[in-house]
Structures are given as structure tokens and as C-alpha cells.
Assembly symmetry: D2
Homo-oligomer: 227 residues x 4
């Protein structure tokens, strides 16, 4: 469902059927964390940095992790972005559907993702494929195709974009740039990698964890140790 | 489009076709602002408080306004909540469509609100009614009715709620509790009362301004003076 | 070291030698938390609210706790306020020493608080009284008296307040109004009630916990269960 | 009072008598702002980027400026850091005087900075040198030397560092790493470059503006146009 795009030689993972997450930019590294913790500009990398970083993370000395920053580009269904935007310590710049017509791209779950409603946890789905998965998949696809047909027709006949978009489904793909520091990214990942998180945001969390690992491997190792 | 619900004797304004905004709770008043500015617990109300509050607001001494807090209950279309949630200094508790099936309520604009796309400002609509407003209204209504038909059918046959909701339109009504302090509410209002803001969020801004006016009339008067 | 001031019949605890913390205002209660979690305006208090609140706290559903707000008035040594102000989700209004001359009040530790430097934890002190506690106490007192003598003299001869204050010691008492929501207060308390926290801020944390307990007893009970 | 340290070939300005501000790290540039505004990863630099950035700044489209990040190292008197830390959207890592003994460095104003208390603005000083500037300077110096003598003596005889530091004056130099995005840096600069800001923080603001100008010259030009 997600894989590093090696052809483009860029830091990008394809996620879901039309989504992706790309590492656009970053500032700092493991060394920035230990320097921030030591408040020391030219502290050299030391062998014990891994131990220090693990200590800081375990003991909730969170501010040194705020010294490392990332910017991601994300293409995801709107219902995923809705969950994402509840994290208020990120910076977001999202495409405006008031400004531009949205392309007809919407998320249709793969067959193995169409499972049944969990009864033990009211907000989750099970991992067992729904017997009618194929029919459900087609219903979702057709409903969205129909919604986009109406959307395009409304735009075509001069309906304001800000009103026409109101018929679009919640699985319409949108597009954003999102910046965050490592402390708040870890907080996001802890919640969104959790088995209670919805699969469709979990795959973005997994991709981001892989994207940042080469930049701050000691911090990521320490973080994984706390999961 | 909006009116104080005097029958219920509660602080509630009806907004749009099925929405509302209610003042659930508040802390503080004009006096809290002047006491915070003076860092003085038992300062009595003074005649010059109005002048002080105006001075603070004009000179961007913002922290005294953070001492006044409000909690609103809001029912609004999802595309309105999407704009709202970009304001990251609020506290939000929104209904989860993973947890509960959403009722079949969606926003259909009134005829006089169905105008034409602005060409001078790429993100706005004009104030001139669209010649086909009636047909557009019907198309929006039918498209959403159809989306909800599919949604209910998906739920009925055991599709997980978190997937079924993905076909719902962006004008589906959702529901939240939202807290904010007066400084950040003024910031919100300044942006969302602006003529460039979309009508469908402007009406919520107008209702909130009316709801808070009895609580801190001096601050609201000063704020209006800066618009 | 701290006790409820029953004479004044106000919600105030004396802390350290000249400090205090007072509950100035609050918004919400346990019921606000369960209503925010249920996104339901008129949900009645229920027996299972305590269980719900405990579940929310344990499972890090933090936003319902943001619906409860407090404003405290705090008089504390500047080195305590320096630690406090690192908590960036509070709202602060502090007395300005540029604006007003500060009274000659500074913190001198009680004898039993003058212990020795810990060697096992580089940032802490031990609980064992220093053999020269009495002499140390006098040195601290005299040094601060001397600093205030110079301060007053500088003010007297027309030195700008914003420069004169630069000679004042870090244990000078300052004064602030500070607002916070219950989620962020719990975060503060978790860190500042910890045995690694400095005693001089811990006593403020303890006083605040006692001040809020009557307002949201179920949430405080749940919080204590997580310590 | 401040000058680029060209010998070290590093991005550092000396500020006040012993302070400095250094640009440790940064992420992004003018191009990041226009790409964030356009939500477009590979948008090339365009001629009209300057116009776009000016438009965004003037019309308070603030989020694209949040995509640019800086980390500064700052050495400054504690009373300056106290003002700085009121800006809650920065990330701070400051030296702990609980953990380490502070070196005997404190700020003594230059003679031309020792002016008189303003009477027209209660929080400011005038620009006119105080007739007794020389004597005042010596009093400040002597009072701080005395405070550090007591501090060192207390440390020497085993007083806990967290208590000994309480006698140190507010002009003691401390040391921090501080990260911020360009939107919040502009907000800081707008307040702290203002003539009502205290000189001792204004010089840090001026140095930071010079440090970031080579990184995002179009944004800095637009910002200067709004001052």
C-alpha cells in the first residue's frame, strides 16, 4: 500500500490508492537534540548521545526534540486530513477548494481493507474482510463518481467553487504542506501508529516514521523503544 | 438566517438551515481584563476601564484578553468546521463519525445565497443571484440525498462506520464543543467577519459576537471600533 | 508552609515565606468534561461519569479536559516564575518592573529547607539539613537586603526602573495572573509535583491541586490515580 | 554595541557587553513561502514571488511564513530572557542553574545607555544621559560583584545550586537555544524593534533581523515595508 519511489529519487512514499507523503525539508539531526539538551553550540557528536537521547525521551525532557523540524507534503483523503488537523502544534498550508477546482480523485478502500464494524470497540473496524467487500467497494466508487459528476456540472454552469465543493465526498483527496517539530511528530506518531487509530491515517504515520529515520536514527530508535 | 431562540430561553442562535451556535459557558468579563492588565485581584470597576480596554486592544497588549474564556456548542457543515479548525488556539471536541452514525442533515444554500463565481477575487462568490439558482439548489439537494442513501445502506449492511462515512458530502452537519479565549476569538472574528470570508462561516462569527456582547460589552465595543 | 486562609473566606493558600496562590475564577466542572466527551449539551450527570473520566485520562483523550478553565493569582519568587513560564499553554499577566517599583520582598528558605547539594542527581538537593543552614540563611538574607538597598537608592536618584531592577535578586517576589485549562494544569502538576521538581515550585503545585479539587473532584481523583 | 564576528566566519552578532546571538540552523527560504502558499512542491522561483510574499504579509496570510524555521543561540541577561520567554510559540532550551554553576557574567549598561526615567511613558526611559551615569554604573557593577561573591561562597560551602542561585541578580547572563518560525519571528520583531521596547532586547531583535535577511531577503523586505 506504500513504497519508496526510487525512480524519482525523492523522499516520497505512495500511500493508499492516490495519496503520498514526501519529506520536503528538514532542520537538525540527532546532534541538534544533544546540543540543545547541553545548550552547547559546538559539542561534538559523542558515543553516549544515544544514551542521552533515550534518557531525555523516557524522562519527558521534551524541549530538545523541538529543535528538529520537518516539512512534509501530503496528499490524503479529506477525512484523514480532518483527523490530522486536530493536531494543533503543526503548521498547515492546504489547497483551497474555494480557489481552485479539485481534480476527481477520491479514496476507494482496497478489498482487504473493507472489513466489518467492530462491536467490542465502538469506533473501530475488525480485521476480517466483509463478505460483501466487492459490492461495498463498487457502491463507494459509484457514489463518489456521481458526486464528482454533479460537482463538475455545477462548476461548468458557473456555480461558485466555494458552494459547488459542498457536494464532494469526505474521501476526496486534498493536498497540504505540513511542518512539525520532532517532539510533536512523536506525539502524533504515538497516537496514529496505535492499533486503535484508523488504518487510513496509520499508513501515513508509518511512512513519516520511515522518512525521518535516516535524519535522526538515534531518536527514532529511542522512540521505537517506547512504543 | 439566524435569530436568538427566545423560547428556549438559552443563549442560542440558529444559523444556516440546520445549524446553531450556543454559548455553553464563560469565565470572566470586562473587569477580568482590567484586573489582569493591572495584575490586581480586587481592583474595583472604574469609569476609565473602557478607555483602558480600548488602549490595550489598540496597542496589541493582548494577554489581558486571554483571561476571558468561552465555550460554544456549534452545529455546522463540515466544510465550515474545516475552516474553523485551522484556528489552532481553540479547544475542540467534535462528534466522531467513527463512533456514531451521523443523522441525514446537510446544508443546502438558500436561493439568494446561490450567486455566481467572482472573477475579480478567485476565492469568492459575487452577491448577484445565479440565474439557475433554483436548479442548482435542487442538484445539491439531490446529490446529498443520494450520498446519504448510500451511507445508510452501507451502514445497514455492516460496513464499518469509519469507512461508510467517507461517501458523505462536505456539507454534512457535524457538531462540536469549542473553547477559546477572548483574544483568540477576536482574532477569529476579525478574519471571519471580513467580507472575504465565506458567507457560511461569517454567519457563525456574527452570532458569536452577539452572544459575547452582554458578557464583555466594553471589550466588544473596543473591538468593533477596530473593524 | 502553606495553609488555606479561612479568615478571608477566599480560595487562597499561603506558600513559602511571602507567596500565595489564589483561585480567582474557573469555568466548568466534572460535568463539562463528560459533556465535552459526549458532545452533548444537556447530558445529565451520570453515575458512570467517574469511570468515563478515568478512562479518558488513562487513554490520553485529552481534549475533554481542555473544556475546564482556571485563573490563578500567584505571588512567587522570580526563579519560580521562570520555571513556570516555560509552560507555554498558560496565559500570563505579570507585574512589570519597568512600570512599577517592586516592594522589598524576597524569598529566604526556612532552615529545614537549606539542605546539601545532591551528588547522585546533579540538579537536585538532598533532604538532609546543611550543618551551616543558619549561616547560609543569614548570608542569603543579607545579600538580598543589600541588593534592595542599592535598588531603592538607584530608583531614588532617578535611574530608570527598567535598569534599576537589573540588580534585584532572582528570589524577589513577583506577581501574576495565570490561566490554564485542566489538561495543561494536569501536565504541569505531573511535572511539578514530581520529587525531582524543586521544592519551591512543588508547594505551588500542591496548593493548586487542593484549590481545584472541590471543582472537579472526579477528575482530580482520576489524576491522583495516575501519579 | 553589536557587530558581525567575521573572524570566526560564523553567523554571530555580539550584543551588549557579554551577550551574543548566533544563527545555528535554518530551514527554508523565500521559495518555501511561495511554494507553501501555492501548495506546490516544485514550483520554480518566479519574478512575481516578491509581490506574492508582500501580498501574503499585508493581508495576514500568515501560514506560509510558518514553513521557514530558525534556531538561534542566545546569550543574554536574565531580565531580557524573561521578556523573550513570554513569546510562547518559540521552542526554548536554556541552561539550568540547578544543574551547573553560572559564570560570573552580568550586564552593566554602557554610560550612554544610563539615562533617566521617562515621565510621559511610565515603562520607558528617556534618551538623555543621566547626570550621575558614571556613579550609577559603578553601583550596579559593585552590587552584582557582591552578589556573585556571595553566590560563589554559598556554592563553595556546599549550598545546593538551586538555592544559591536565588541571590544572583536579574542581569546575570544566561544562555539558550531558541527555535521559531518566520511568522512568529516577525511578530516578535514587530514588538521588540518598537521604540517602546526596552533597548536591551531591541538590540537582539536588530541582530536577528540582520541574521535572517540573507536567507529570506524578499520576506524581510516585505516585513520592513510594514514597520
Amino acid at each position: 500500500m506504500s513504497g519508496l519511489d526510487t525512480q524519482l529519487k525523492v523522499e516520497l512514499y505512495h500511500v493508499l490508492d492516490h495519496g503520498f507523503v514526501r519529506l520536503v525539508d528538514s532542520m537538525g539531526s540527532d546532534l541538534s537534540i544533544s546540543r540543545a539538551a547541553r545548550v552547547s553550540y559546538d559539542a561534538p557528536p559523542r558515543e553516549e548521545d544515544g544514551k542521552l537521547i533515550k534518557y531525555l525521551l523516557t524522562n519527558k525532557h521534551t524541549t530538545p526534540f523541538e529543535a528538529v523540524k520537518f516539512t512534509f507534503e501530503v496528499k490524503a483523503p479529506i477525512f484523514v486530513l480532518r483527523q490530522w488537523h486536530r493536531h494543533r502544534m503543526w503548521n498547515y498550508n492546504e489547497l483551497s477548494a474555494r480557489y481552485r477546482e479539485l481534480p476527481a480523485e477520491y479514496y476507494v478502500p482496497a478489498l482487504d481493507q473493507i472489513t466489518t464494524q467492530s462491536t467490542s470497540n465502538k469506533q473501530m473496524r475488525t480485521t476480517e474482510q466483509h463478505p460483501e467487500a466487492n459490492a461495498i467497494r463498487k457502491e463507494i466508487d459509484m457514489a463518489c463518481r456521481e458526486a464528482f459528476r454533479v460537482y463538475k456540472m455545477l462548476i461548468f454552469c458557473g456555480t461558485p467553487r466555494e458552494l459547488a465543493r459542498s457536494v464532494l465526498p469526505l474521501n476526496t483527496y486534498s493536498h497540504m504542506f505540513a511542518s512539525v517539530d520532532l517532539h510533536n511528530l512523536f506525539h502524533f506518531l504515538r497516537l496514529r501508529l496505535h492499533e486503535h487509530a484508523q488504518y487510513e491515517i496509520r499508513v501515513y504515520a508509518e511512512a513519516m516514521l520511515k522518512l525521518i529515520e535516516p535524519i535522526c536514527p538515534l531518536a527514532v530508535a529511542a522512540f521505537k523503544g517506547t512504543l
